[in-house]
């Protein structure tokens, strides 16, 4: 089992009030699954994504990633997990503007202290996987939205993560480009990756093989698609 969530809860202190963003989330994810976490705004899907992505720790419950308990890890250990196991793809791409596409894709390797002489080949490998070899030396400002998202996907792939987490990956793209990107995710899934989409759009979630619906911080339904 890749991901095991048992009774996950997350509460925030907002002033004197306690806001429960997530309650009693229990679910499991096997390797090479393709699932979508769906819900309206306020349903807790972003909070769940942050926890699964090890950007945040739950206040209740247990999260085991590849058998390892995440809830008790400190900041540096979380950073390491993020580096090795998680590949993020954001709605706003979040590429570093002063670096080329190549350098953006390379960055996670630098943080994971990969050996210098293997880096270049691996970066080209990832860039080729998303079909951007001829744009590799361009800055993000010189790329289209679709190309930027491809760079972001290549960056997410570079450390060969266990999970690819995509938060509204097509939110800033037109429908045609959005479809292209969804095809990329599809092929990533076919190549053996585990892909988790987080979205509020029905037609995006439709691409996945399993849909987990959230409402008010709890799982409403969890079924194959």
């Amino acid at each position: 089992m890749l991901i095991e969530l048992s009774g996950i809860g997350k509460t925030y202190e907002v002033g004197t009030q306690t806001v429960p963003a997530l309650r009693d989330i229990t679910m499991a994810v096997e390797p090479n699954e393709y699932l979508a976490i769906m819900g309206p705004s306020g349903s807790g899907k972003s909070t769940l994504m942050n926890i699964v992505g090890c950007l945040d720790t739950p206040t209740d419950g247990s999260y085991r990633l590849k058998g390892r308990e995440i809830a008790e890890l400190d900041d540096d250990e979380l950073a390491l997990i993020r580096s090795e196991e998680i590949g993020f793809v954001f709605q706003t791409f979040n590429l570093l503007p002063r670096m080329t596409a190549f350098q953006n894709v390379e960055l996670p390797l630098i943080y994971s202290r990969a050996e210098r002489h293997t880096r270049t080949d691996r970066v080209w490998g990832a860039i080729d996987a998303v079909g951007l070899r001829d744009r590799a030396t361009h800055r993000p400002s010189e790329l289209s939205g679709g190309q930027r998202q491809r760079v972001a996907i290549a960056r997410a792939l570079i450390n060969r993560p266990s999970i690819i987490l995509a938060d509204e990956p097509t939110g800033n793209l037109d429908s045609a480009t959005g479809e292209e990107i969804m095809e990329v995710f599809g092929s990533l899934h076919s190549s053996g990756n585990t892909v988790i989409l987080v979205t509020h759009e029905e037609y995006i979630a439709e691409h996945a093989r399993r849909i987990v619906r959230l409402r008010d911080g709890m799982i409403e339904s969890d079924s194959p698609n």
Binding site: A79, S83, F88, N159
Partner: protein, 403 residues
């Protein structure tokens, strides 16, 4: 993150904001540059003064009414009792004192063959003066004991009058008119250069007895002497002080009514005066570096705030707190070290220009460069730590949400 990567990345960031980086460095550049320029100036001055002082005579003790360095105490040195020839003899008799040369001075016109030099210093003294006061005869001879005994009207010219009155002609054997009397030139002195701007060559030396014959006995005598062989300067000075105080009946608790001048004292006085000036200048320069450091801290804080999103992204893809911290600290240090280096370059250039264009000697020392570099480095570290800590502490989720 590898050190090399951190440095490359930081450089990239700074270069992409050239204007901002340059303005930030301004404070450090000025601070480091001034430090080098000031220290170079002082070092050069010190060296120059020490070298010039060598030309007076290194172990000379000069007893006179006036101290060489007059610290405007308000005392009228002219009111002091004059020092007499007998005082000179008493000093000479001291076992701790070696060569002694009493001397008296005045200013008079000098003329030869219609050529007139106004107000040259005329010194009346004895043969020992040549040794004690470090004179060298270039041509002819110095004053001798027989000249003194017989009150001969002979003169030894300094390099200045020799050239100005006689030009290329050999002055030896020729006449010179001093104070209306005719003297015969018997010697010419080697040039001694100048000390702190004033020439040491504008003088004429005649026998002390002749001086008193021509110009009168009423002046105070200056006693120039040296410690006897093997006697430490300190003891010689104390012995002189002791005998002078007795002879002049100075009360036990009153200060000396005469001055015992030594080169050590002169240098010490010089150093205490310039020492304070030096510290003041260093302090001002230090302030400049402080201002530069605050400038760096400010810009780094702004940079951290501007790059909040970027920091969130970096953390999301695996950067640890330490990675973020070192990134920003390195940026800060690069700013300060590059600025420091530029400033040092400027300081060296300035010192060079000063040496070329003004009489002030500026000598750039390795010490000044090291200190300036060190200060720049420390400034970058000290003022970069706080912004770096803040950057590291950012919560990635909030940072990612930042617009």
């Amino acid at each position: 993150m590898e050190f090399r990567e951190t440095i490359l990345s930081s450089f990239r960031t700074l270069v992409s904001h050239k204007m901002r980086s340059a303005l930030t460095m301004l404070g450090i550049i000025i601070g480091a540059g001034s430090l080098v320029a000031v220290m170079s100036l002082v070092a050069g001055l010190n060296r120059s003064v020490a070298a010039q002082f060598q030309s007076i005579g290194t172990d000379i003790i000069s007893v006179s009414r006036y101290p060489w360095v007059q610290t405007g105490g308000g005392e009228d040195y002219r009111k002091r009792k004059k020092i007499t020839a007998e005082d000179a003899e008493a000093v000479e008799a001291l076992p701790s004192i070696g060569l002694t040369a009493p001397n008296v001075h005045t200013s008079r016109n000098l003329s030869f063959d219609g050529e007139v030099l106004r107000m040259i210093t005329i010194s009346g003294t004895t043969p020992e003066y040549e040794t004690i006061d470090n004179f060298a005869v270039e041509d002819g001879r110095f004053v001798t004991d027989i000249d003194v005994e017989r009150r001969r009207q002979v003169a030894v010219l300094g390099a200045g009058p020799a050239t100005e009155l006689y030009g290329a002609r050999d002055p030896i054997g020729k006449n010179v008119s001093i104070g209306g009397r005719r003297f015969r030139v018997v010697g010419v002195l080697e040039s001694k250069g100048s000390i702190l701007g004033s020439s040491l060559d504008d003088l004429v030396i005649i026998p002390i007895t002749t001086f008193e014959k021509v110009f009168g006995h009423y002046r105070s005598t200056v006693i120039d002497c040296q410690p006897a062989e093997g006697v430490p300067m300190q003891r010689a000075v104390e012995d002189i002080r002791h005998v002078m105080r007795i002879r002049r009946r100075v009360p036990r608790d009153a200060p000396d009514d005469f001055a015992i001048n030594t080169q050590d004292e002169l240098l010490a006085e010089y150093h205490s005066l310039t020492g304070m000036l030096y510290l003041a200048m260093i302090g001002i320069v230090g302030l400049s570096l402080l201002v530069g450091g605050i400038g760096i801290m400010n810009v780094m804080l702004v940079s951290v705030a501007e790059r909040t999103r970027e920091i969130g992204v970096r953390k999301a893809i695996g950067a640890k707190r330490a990675d973020i911290r070192s990134q920003f600290l390195v940026e800060s240090v690069i700013l300060s070290v590059v600025g420091g280096t530029a400033g040092i370059g400027g300081g060296i250039g300035l010192a060079f220009l000063v040496r070329l264009g003004t009489p002030l000697p500026a000598a750039v020392t390795a010490v000044s460069i090291s200190i300036a570099l060190g200060f720049s480095l420390v400034t970058g570290i000290v003022f970069g730590v706080y912004p770096a800590l803040r950057a590291g502490r950012l919560n990635p989720i909030e940072a990612l949400r930042y617009e």
